[in-house]
């Protein structure tokens, strides 16, 4: 009942919806796309879509946040597909790094790539639990799955990250 009351409030108060969830949608998109600027642009598109569509949503037991994440995931996927068709511009780093600093930059880049390569539902589960700090019960509510299923998604995500890092010759981070 409390979930439905909140759903109704968020449906009819765009400003409150925006203020409550903008930051986490930007963070989620930045992790998917590897670019904070691009994330901010696409987050704006997500909320324009929210303005149009959220007032007409029907309560199906999931918070408005679930809808926001689904739209953000779809828009991020579209952006990544479009990117593959664009000419490749070489990676540009802010400054030349050397020694340990270079190793650290390489490791961080590898982690970012590994995170971006996760399947969308694995990425959302990791993001909600570890980045935003939601308890698994809330992760389950947002994802519309059981707590056990969400725990399993995080386990698989962890294994995929390990494999991706090993492929790049990077040991588990300390």
């Amino acid at each position: 009942m409390q979930g439905e009351a909140r759903f109704r409030r968020e449906q009819h108060d765009f400003d409150a919806l925006f203020r409550a969830h903008h930051a986490e949608i930007v963070r989620y998109l930045a992790a998917r796309l590897g670019s904070r600027e691009e994330a901010a642009d696409i987050a704006a598109d997500v909320f324009v879509e929210a303005w149009r569509r959220v007032p007409g949503l029907r309560w199906r037991g999931r918070p408005v946040l679930a809808w926001l994440y689904r739209v953000a995931a779809n828009m991020a996927a579209d952006r990544m597909t479009a990117r593959r068709r664009e000419p490749v511009a070489g990676n540009v780093h802010d400054a030349a790094a050397s020694g340990d600093e270079a190793a650290s930059v390489i490791e961080r880049e590898a982690i970012r790539r590994a995170l971006a390569s996760l399947p969308p539902d694995h990425a959302i589960a990791v993001h909600l639990r570890l980045v935003e700090g939601y308890p698994f019960a809330d992760v389950a509510r947002v994802m519309g799955r059981s707590v056990g299923a969400c725990q399993m998604l995080v386990l698989r995500a962890g294994r995929e990250l390990q494999t991706a890092l090993e492929r790049e010759g990077i040991d588990a981070p300390l």
């Binding site: 009942m1 409390q2 009351a5 409030r9 009819h12 108060d13 765009f14 400003d15 409150a16 925006f18 203020r19 409550a20 903008h22 930051a23 930007v26 963070r27 989620y28 930045a30 992790a31 904070r36 901010a40 987050a43 704006a44 909320f47 324009v48 303005w51 007032p55 961080r108 982690i111 970012r112 590994a114 995170l115 990791v126 993001h127 639990r129 570890l130 980045v131 935003e132 700090g133 308890p135 698994f136 056990g148 725990q151 399993m152 995080v154 386990l155 995500a157 962890g158 294994r159 990250l161 390990q162 890092l165 588990a172 981070p173 300390l174």
Partner: protein, 438 residues
């Protein structure tokens, strides 16, 4: 078989991420890689950035009118229904549902903030003095700002709650604690959530159990009870609220604990001296600001969601304990009838803590990391209590024990023991002092 193993492993991983278990082997490696990935994705999006984005994203007036019209119609219908309920009530007095709905509406809508003045009076079992708390609450944004004073006006605590950060400043000691969320504070969200905020949430989410017309301070009022929390040990916590019959604003909130067997105890009484909703843009510019003075000693608590793991323990000799910096706090060579026993250093992944044992009474002295046995679990508001000129927080730990904590320069010191009552704690906490370095 593999699927079953994976389910168990997934649950163990969840326990490790929640800080309930210490991971080893494959789990430890998984936790490390997940935490490293999460750390890459964690960054702050400032409120100013969000407001700028909102100003750009907010659609134009034509679209807004399209939304507002049905909302206005719906609001009109709701008002008419409420009036109907009032008129059709057989007794001629407002129904419970109506009182609850109007009490919620009296706290203001999403565009308003609440300015409050509260007097906090202990329950009959308490042995401490009342205090006054003034501040602002913005329920829509999840923000609050409070100043707590003793009866003589001395400021003992200033608290700022923001969506992604909580700052608690103690002017007496010149110290501040900053945490990413109330979950990172030992007292949990109890020390950061105001009774009025809990009251608003309860009005929104649960049905009141009774509404009785009463006379309060010589004026007509309604009194009803709102269930707030049910704990595993059978304790049920409720707010008994008295609201003014005319304005429907709260005048008194009593926190009551009902234990198994039906024993009811009043934990605290909050008299709302003033509560008024104003439009957010009419609140003072500094209503939700807390500027820490120069030279404030600030302790940053571990991020929420980051599990605190015990890496090891070591017994300290008295000379090692005396050499610690900042100085360790103790109760003297004897306390509660017991001599000082073991002094143990606990090393966690996010910092260290020291435990001093006086028989069954334990003193914990810690900085950035809250030792897991001290984590709080309930929303009881017997939290910020003034003893002398210091603010002391009382709460129940996840293990069900009563704990009392106060700030010290650069950290916190807490008392915990299974057989102690609140007055015994208050007596003991007054004796806390730095361990001399000789």
């Amino acid at each position: 078989m593999r699927r079953c193993d994976d389910r168990l492993l997934a649950r163990s991983l969840a326990d490790a991420l929640d800080g309930r278990a210490q991971p080893t082997g494959e789990l430890e490696a998984l936790v490390r890689v997940l935490e490293a990935a999460a750390a890459e994705a964690r960054f702050d999006v400032s409120q100013a950035e969000t407001e700028r984005a909102l100003a750009t994203a907010r659609p134009g007036p034509v679209r807004r009118l399209r939304l507002l019209l049905p909302v206005a119609v719906a609001t009109g219908v709701a008002v008419a229904l409420a009036a109907g309920l009032l008129l059709l009530s057989p007794s001629g007095s407002p129904t419970l549902v109506n009182v609850q709905a109007r009490a919620l509406a009296a706290l203001g809508g999403p565009g308003s903030v609440l300015e409050v003045t509260e007097r906090i009076v202990p329950g009959p079992a308490g042995g401490f003095t009342p205090s006054t708390r003034t501040g602002w609450i913005d329920a829509a944004r999840g923000e609050a700002r409070f100043t707590q004073r003793t009866t003589d006006g001395t400021v003992v605590d200033e608290t700022l709650v923001e969506r992604s950060r909580i700052t608690r400043y103690a002017p007496v000691t010149g110290t501040a604690v900053i945490a990413g969320s109330c979950a990172a504070l030992a007292t949990g969200c109890a020390s950061a959530v105001d009774p009025l905020t809990v009251y608003r949430r309860a009005l929104e989410r649960v049905a009141a159990t009774a509404a009785t017309p009463v006379t309060f301070a010589g004026a007509p009022a309604y009194r009803f009870s709102l269930p707030v929390q049910a704990l595993r040990d059978g304790v049920r916590i409720a707010q008994v609220v008295t609201v003014d019959a005319r304005t429907l604003l709260p005048e008194r909130i009593e926190w009551r604990e009902r234990r198994q067997g039906g024993h009811v105890q009043t934990a605290a009484v909050i008299d709302i001296r003033d509560a008024g909703a104003v439009a957010r843009d009419q609140a003072p510019d500094d209503a939700f600001l807390l500027a820490l003075p120069p030279k404030t000693v600030v302790a940053q608590l571990a991020a929420p969601g980051r599990p605190v793991r015990l890496l090891g323990t070591r017994r300290l000799t008295p000379s090692e304990a005396r050499a610690l910096s900042p100085p360790l706090y103790w109760l003297g060579p004897r306390a509660a009838g017991h001599p000082l026993g073991a002094i143990t250093l606990y090393r966690y992944n996010a910092g260290v803590a020291v435990q001093l044992r006086y028989g069954p009474l334990l003193v914990w002295d810690y900085g950035p990391v809250v030792p897991p046995p001290l984590l709080g679990n309930r929303l009881v508001p017997v939290k910020q209590i003034v003893i002398g000129s210091r603010s002391v927080r009382v709460y129940s730990t996840v293990g069900g024990q009563l704990a009392v904590e106060r700030d010290r320069p650069g950290g916190t010191v807490a008392l915990i023991g299974p057989i102690f009552t609140k007055p015994a704690y208050f007596e003991a906490i007054g004796h806390l002092r730095p361990l001399p370095d000789r």
